[in-house]
């Protein structure tokens, strides 16, 4: 296993609660989302870094925190680690001094533009992709970050070491394994790989069912 967030294929979680609910079940859920997005707009960390901040909550915290508790707790950790706020400020609940980053604060009249602009992950790269649609590939095993022990990766453990087929190539995308750790964007070709459910689970629910993952070239070898 990589980390606690990597739960695809796990048994024991019980039925899915499909009851309808409002967009934000609690007011603080909406605040948590908005504060996280506004803090992200300060530009002190990447999306990949913020995903990893949630993943490296302790397994006990990850399991007991609700969804937006994970967001807000990981945000507190990131704010402190990047020096945007101090531990003393978190402890007192009050700012000790204005921030030198204040000029970057997201203003209300800029929100629509920032949300609409997004942050595309594709990058121009001249090198040709190593694999073509239809090629057979095997994924890295075990699933791991090859730069940092316990680091961020997007190869789920359930798909590690599995043989699949290239469905499509999406051009080069930022490599989360590098970018999450401040090691640069290191763009690589990104592929959709389709796996037979029997390859992943041994005994699938029904023969012929499939699972796809979007995987970077360095996760893959010819098979």
């Amino acid at each position: 296993m990589t980390r606690v967030h990597d739960m695809g294929g796990r048994f024991g979680d019980g039925p899915v609660d499909t009851a309808p609910e409002p967009v934000f079940k609690e007011d603080w859920h909406a605040r948590a989302l908005a504060v996280t997005l506004a803090a992200g707009a300060l530009g002190q960390w990447s999306l990949d870094t913020s995903r990893h901040a949630r993943e490296r909550l302790s397994p006990a915290d990850y399991a007991r925190f609700s969804y937006f508790e994970k967001w807000i707790s990981a945000l507190a950790d990131l704010l402190e680690e990047t020096g945007v706020v101090t531990r003393a400020e978190l402890a007192s609940g009050r700012a000790d001094r204005p921030s030198p980053l204040a000029g970057r604060a997201l203003k209300a009249d800029k929100v629509a533009g920032v949300l609409a602009k997004g942050g595309p992950a594709d990058r121009p790269v001249n090198a040709a992709p190593r694999f073509q649609p239809g090629d057979t590939v095997r994924t890295r095993r075990p699933a791991r970050n090859s730069f940092v022990d316990g680091g961020h990766t997007r190869l789920p453990a359930y798909a590690a070491g599995a043989v699949g087929r290239v469905l499509s190539c999406h051009g080069a995308h930022v490599l989360p394994d590098a970018n999450a750790h401040g090691l640069g964007e290191a763009p690589e070709p990104l592929y959709t790989i389709v796996f037979d459910a029997a390859e992943l689970w041994g005994a699938p629910e029904r023969a012929g069912d499939e699972v796809t993952c979007d995987l970077w070239e360095s996760y893959l070898r010819p098979a």
């Binding site: 796990r10 603080w28 204040a102 997004g118 595309p120 997007r154 970077w216």
Partner: protein, 204 residues
């Protein structure tokens, strides 16, 4: 960037999550890093403006216009961007079409990736451990919990959103919708049918 340490800053904050959010919001506002009016604007955007009606319009048009459908399946990102559906968590879109032979279903086992510009903020079940853990291994049992049973001859393909590609399921157009306008068709398209955990149904 610090990586693993065992005195996480979040543990300093109040344990109640609503107070925890409030504390961070207060500190950041006092430091000049957050404009409370911008927070209200973000919330209003996802509560009232960006939601599944965007995706429903795309599906209804794909059902009505064969040229649009072909273009959508070829390059959904640019086709939906032309309709104004582009932005955060929707920078790269793939549309996947249900057929009698294949039912498509979307999950993000590692977090909760979801096509925000087309469907809005993901619902609680999409973010739940139960859905994330089980959708890839036992999609048919999960579908049954949503009241969906597929014909035996229909293969399930589950799309695990492990990168920045976001998936929109184009459900099959239901019988009995012949001659309906795009607007009327859009009323049949539920959020869940565009994630692959539901089927289109007549408007209530």
């Amino acid at each position: 960037m610090p990586h693993d340490h065992h005195d996480h800053a979040h543990a300093i904050l109040p344990p109640d999550p609503a107070l925890r959010v409030k504390a961070i919001e207060t500190i950041l506002t006092q430091k000049g890093l957050i404009d409370p009016a911008a927070l209200d604007e973000i919330i209003d955007t996802y509560e009232n403006r960006i939601g599944p009606k965007n995706g429903a319009l795309v599906v209804a048009r794909a059902w009505s216009d064969p040229g649009f459908r072909r273009a959508l399946l070829e390059d959904a990102t640019s086709v939906v961007a032309e309709l104004g559906f582009y932005g955060r968590q929707g920078e790269h879109i793939t549309a996947v079409e249900n057929t009698p032979g294949q039912h498509n279903m979307v999950v993000c086992t590692l977090c909760s990736c979801y096509p925000w510009p087309l469907l809005g903020i993901p619902p609680g079940w999409y973010k739940s451990d139960a859905y994330r853990a089980r959708a890839v291994r036992e999609p048919r049992k999960v579908l049954a919990e949503f009241g969906v049973t597929l014909p035996e001859g229909t293969k399930v393909r589950v799309w695990d959103s492990t990168a920045e590609m976001r998936y929109l399921v184009i459900p099959m157009r239901p019988e009995g919708t012949e001659g309906l306008s795009e607007d009327a068709l859009a009323q049949w398209v539920t959020r869940d049918s565009m994630v692959g955990t539901g089927l289109p149904r007549p408007p209530a």
